[in-house]
């Protein structure tokens, strides 16, 4: 299991130095504006803004390529289906297949929004350690119970993952082969899941006692972040860019076919 999303959070760039609370607010607003865009001219602007933001973050291009590898399967499915299935205006034929304008535009729009939102997400989560981001969410109003649960869940994911791999190795050594769907196979997999739950449940009891011994719940959370004027200025610039995308798309008509009509 690879959990190295924040392996480049130690680099130095304006995004690395930006207060995580402001960064979350600014970049989340931006990705929501991206999901609003429908005009293809604004799609070009969105791609440009995404490239500039990623370049400023100084994260390696290979890191983004690695993060896009799995989700891009979805993109391939969208690009291979929508242009042939959706719409009525045929723009090209390819043997028995007809490429339709509406489907093609929708596929381009979805692929562009998807890639840009994911890239901004990589900047948001790749330039700050994940635990600092959870603390920043707490500072932004995430309930304490949710923040505690997120931190503890993250802390024990790897350990429980290792436990699962150990159990699966033991099952294979005893001759279990997970190849056919059968009641016996399902029962074995259910018992495997049940064993994981029992292990976690029992482990949580000792963890709770250890937490109580260390004073869990008795001290108010420390103030982790101190914003500087510079953080606010950057946020204002980003909010202006966000507003620009929404207003620009509305002024251009907020529809996908604008560029080709």
């Amino acid at each position: 299991m690879k959990l190295l999303l924040d392996e480049y959070s130690g680099l130095d760039s304006p995004f690395h130095r930006w207060d995580p609370r402001y960064k979350i607010a600014g970049l989340i607003a931006l990705v929501f504006a991206f999901s609003f865009i429908r005009d293809l001219r604004m799609v070009l602007a969105m791609a440009g803004a995404t490239i500039i933001i990623y370049a400023i973050s100084r994260l390696p291009a290979s890191f983004l390529a690695h993060r896009l590898r799995y989700p891009s399967i979805f993109l391939v499915v969208i690009m291979l289906t929508l242009p042939f299935l959706s719409g009525s205006d045929v723009v090209a034929t390819w043997g028995p297949l007809a490429v339709r304008e509406e489907g093609l535009l929708a596929a381009i729009l979805i692929a562009a929004r998807f890639t840009c939102i994911l890239t901004i997400g990589v900047v948001l989560l790749g330039t700050t350690p994940l635990l600092t981001n959870i603390k920043a969410l707490r500072a932004l109003g995430l309930p304490q119970i949710m923040a505690d649960m997120a931190l503890l869940t993250f802390r024990y994911l790897q350990e429980i993952g290792r436990h699962l791999r150990g159990l699966q190795t033991a099952m294979r050594l005893r001759g279990f082969r997970n190849r056919r769907l059968s009641f016996k196979g399902l029962r074995t997999l259910a018992w495997l899941s049940g064993s994981l739950l029992v292990y976690s449940y029992e482990r949580s009891e000792t963890i709770y006692q250890a937490m109580i011994l260390r004073g869990y719940g008795n001290a108010p959370p420390r103030r982790e972040f101190r914003g500087r004027p510079h953080d606010t200025y950057v946020l204002i610039v980003l909010i202006a860019v966000t507003a620009g995308f929404i207003i620009g798309d509305m002024m251009l008509g907020h529809h996908t076919a604008a560029l080709l009509k």
Binding site: P71, M146, I160, L197, V198, M211
Partner: protein, 213 residues
């Protein structure tokens, strides 16, 4: 069954976040009404991590394999912690593996989390009329798994197909909804069977887990 970024329009993703915010607020409020709300946090967190890890277990459905969702089981065991647990699990899945997305986190939490709460109430019925037995645990475990997964599939298919930014005609859209729903039927029953088998296993091995957190 996670909707990725880029497909859904802003009003839908915004509505998803609104529903998720209200449900999370209600869940946290119910948790805070307990005598010592923090006592069960480690238990809920480790079970959340265990559910996350259990979703990597693949069930062979030739010629392919599917992974477990277990939102019915999660609702049955975690009660009011289920919705926050699902939200946290989906957040980690989005940031670690790119399953789902940041703008669709709210709508995905709604698709998985609301049925988990329904499953919680269904599974509680096993204690009605004459108390809990092994058979009733299995039956209500199965129902919790099937109903939760069934609602999730219905929400996923309808939200996805009615919000594609393309002019798909009504007949094609209906056909696609039916095809996707039918394709998920084996998954729904496998989830029900696994939920029944896990709950009966837990009742034999460690009944305390079934009493929830």
């Amino acid at each position: 069954m996670h909707i990725p970024d880029g497909i859904l329009p802003l009003p839908v993703t915004g509505a998803g976040y609104a529903v998720t915010a209200v449900t999370t607020w209600y869940s946290v409020r119910r948790i805070n009404q307990q005598e010592d709300p923090r006592r069960d946090v480690p238990k809920a967190s480790l079970l959340t991590a265990a559910f996350f890890v259990a979703s990597w277990i693949h069930v062979p459905v030739p010629p392919t394999s599917i992974h477990l969702v277990l939102n019915g089981l999660l609702g049955a065991l975690l009660g009011y912690y289920a919705f926050p647990a699902i939200l946290i699990g989906l957040f980690f899945q989005a940031v670690m593996f790119g399953h789902g997305g940041l703008t669709t986190l709210g709508i995905n939490a709604m698709i998985m989390g609301l049925p988990a709460i329904v499953a919680h109430y269904i599974f509680r019925l096993r204690k009605a009329r004459g108390g809990e037995t092994q058979k009733k645990t299995g039956v209500f475990g199965f129902l919790a798994g099937v109903v939760a997964m069934g609602i999730s599939v219905a929400l996923f298919v309808v939200i996805l197909l009615t919000n594609l930014p393309a002019e798909i005609d009504v007949v094609s859209e209906k056909a696609a909804i039916y095809a996707l729903a039918i394709a998920h039927i084996p998954l729904i029953f496998i989830e029900g069977a696994i939920t029944a088998l896990v709950t009966t296993f837990l009742r034999r091995v460690r009944p305390g887990v079934l009493d929830g957190v």
